[in-house]
Symmetry: C2
Subunit: 342 residues, 2 copies
């Protein structure tokens, strides 16, 4: 059996002006991963006071993942990988706490403990394979921090991490990462073979939890698919630097593959990843799909992995599109509903 595991968490790095598109404003963004988990579980937010749709109408990739789950009914589990705001989704606890801005000296002190608990959890899963997904605004910046601390920046050059914005603010991310390493007295590559140092000093709790579950799964012969874009590449780097040399698949979207700031082939080569790229064949006759074609969002909440599961099940693209229209419509309708206080 396949289990889709969403690791949902937060980093204050997301609050840096210009870093993330995941929720238009900072106070909304703090609720985005909680809302994403609820959309995966229920189809719409049940407790998070936000609907993660950008000003242009681009919905969170949770909508795509949910649309596919409604059709395939795959097993899912949400892990609280350091949520800043509460969620109404059922979550597994592994002791992760929301990460601080990586420009602070010790932004993710919970990383080693969360990795260890996540690893034990991964060891005990009964599944044949797991798909590991993330939702964390600001996550590509912390991914860049981890890749740089591990010394993987050179192999990837300037094509390291993607962005949920059409224009990747890569110079800003590099500046933030440089400050992050300096705050921890690290130079690029100083955390080679020490993924827990990279995660704690320049990363985020979601990457620690993804890497931990994957580590435990690999130790117990559970197949691991990293479902996502460059954040999952950073998780793969943590595993390789931690001595895990088992098979790692990466399932992502054609939007990541088409991103000129990403070099998937180089990442696959450097980290020995088997990469699956899925094209959802969106058309621009619907705002949810048109926004992705215009370069927004691109990936997240395991969208690429969900698309890969849909392809495996031979679910027609037209059904995925119908499902997205359906979930999106309900999401906007729900956002107008008032919940009375008791």
């Amino acid at each position: 059996m396949t289990r889709f595991i969403l690791c949902a968490g937060s980093t204050r790095t997301a609050a840096i002006d210009g870093i993330s598109a995941a929720g238009a404003e900072t106070d909304v963004m703090a609720h985005t991963p909680s809302a994403d988990a609820e959309i995966l579980a229920y189809g719409h937010p049940v407790r998070a006071p936000v609907v993660p749709v950008s000003p242009t109408g681009c919905p969170t990739p949770a909508v795509i993942t949910r649309a596919i789950r409604e059709r395939l009914g795959f097993e899912y589990t949400v892990v609280d990988a350091g949520l800043e705001e509460q969620t109404g989704a059922p979550t597994v606890t592994v002791g992760a706490r929301a990460g601080d801005d990586i420009r602070e000296r010790d932004p993710v002190p919970s990383a080693p403990g969360a990795f260890a608990a996540a690893r034990q959890f991964g060891r005990r899963l009964p599944d044949d394979e797991v798909f590991l997904a993330e939702t964390i605004p600001g996550g590509t910046t912390t991914a860049l921090g981890v890749l740089t601390a591990l010394g993987e920046g050179d192999a990837l050059g300037d094509r390291t991490v993607s962005s949920s914005l059409p224009e990747n603010p890569l110079a800003l991310k590099q500046e933030v990462v440089a400050e992050a390493l300096e705050a921890s007295s690290l130079k690029p590559g100083d955390a080679t073979d020490e993924p827990l140092v990279a995660l704690r000093r320049a990363g985020d709790p979601v990457l620690a939890v993804v890497a931990g579950i994957a580590a435990g799964a690999l130790e117990t012969d559970t197949a691991v698919t990293l479902a996502g874009g460059t954040q999952l590449v950073a998780a793969a780097a943590c595993l390789r630097h931690g001595g895990y040399d088992g098979t790692l698949d990466l399932a992502t979207t054609s939007f990541i593959d088409a991103d000129p700031t990403v070099d998937l082939a180089a990442a696959a080569e450097a980290l020995d990843l088997s990469v699956t790229v899925s094209d959802p064949e969106f058309t621009d006759d619907h705002p949810a799909m048109g926004a992705y074609l215009a370069g927004e969002a691109k990936e997240g909440v395991g969208m690429g992995g969900a698309l890969a599961l849909a392809e495996r099940a031979k679910l027609p693209k037209a059904e995925i599109h119908d499902g997205i229209r359906d979930v999106y419509g309900r999401l906007l309708a729900e956002s107008d509903k008032e919940v009375p206080q008791p």
Copy 2:
């Protein structure tokens, strides 16, 4: 769509000698609801350090519910309804805390808040129908406490609550409940139409959460099936005394129906319940099934509801039996496995 919701929690009432069979010893029993939630989610405990199987080999009813879920794949959600020990199952939080021994003055101070949060959660669920289930050792004693405080004891006479033991220690339960009411300066019936008083002073957090979710579901036209035995009858009583007069189904097992200390027909009449009784047609050629035939366990973890879903899906009884053998076998095999420390 149907969602199966397991409300898992604890009451220190279970520690009273002779009250419960859910876990042979008191320190094991504290982990039973956490383990039950994990068995529902993963098929075996992943974090709880116990395997809830009685000395005679009778497994927790979670085994039956899990076996049916493995075949039907129904959607499930676990709500932390006051767990004393942590669980590795994904849980929704509603602010419930483990209940104290009901002989204390204020054993469940979290009941009103948990009811309110559970009600809001129930209002926001997207489902056509919900099945509400429980796991809480000692729960039939607190159920008797609630029924007595609400004044429903008279209608049911001495046939009020069941037991997970072959011999129901009803006199002991009645004595505990009498002490509980006295500690809160209540007489039987003093909490009529005040379910939150009954739950807080003589009940447990699981009943508060079940009643809360059911209340929210009924308010938003989601069909409610109470999946369980006499504890769910107590939840129904809370709803009726709270002014909820919508349709309530109760789905339970033939073992509850056959229990001479239970009068399902009287409960159905008194509380306007539509009762479905499912007979799993167990045979005594397997310890898991033989123990149920001998009067152990009887119900719990929504076993009766899962059986009703199986009947609706026309799942043959033989497949359920095979599934039980399968889950039980894996459970015992897993219990011998060591998990190394990181």
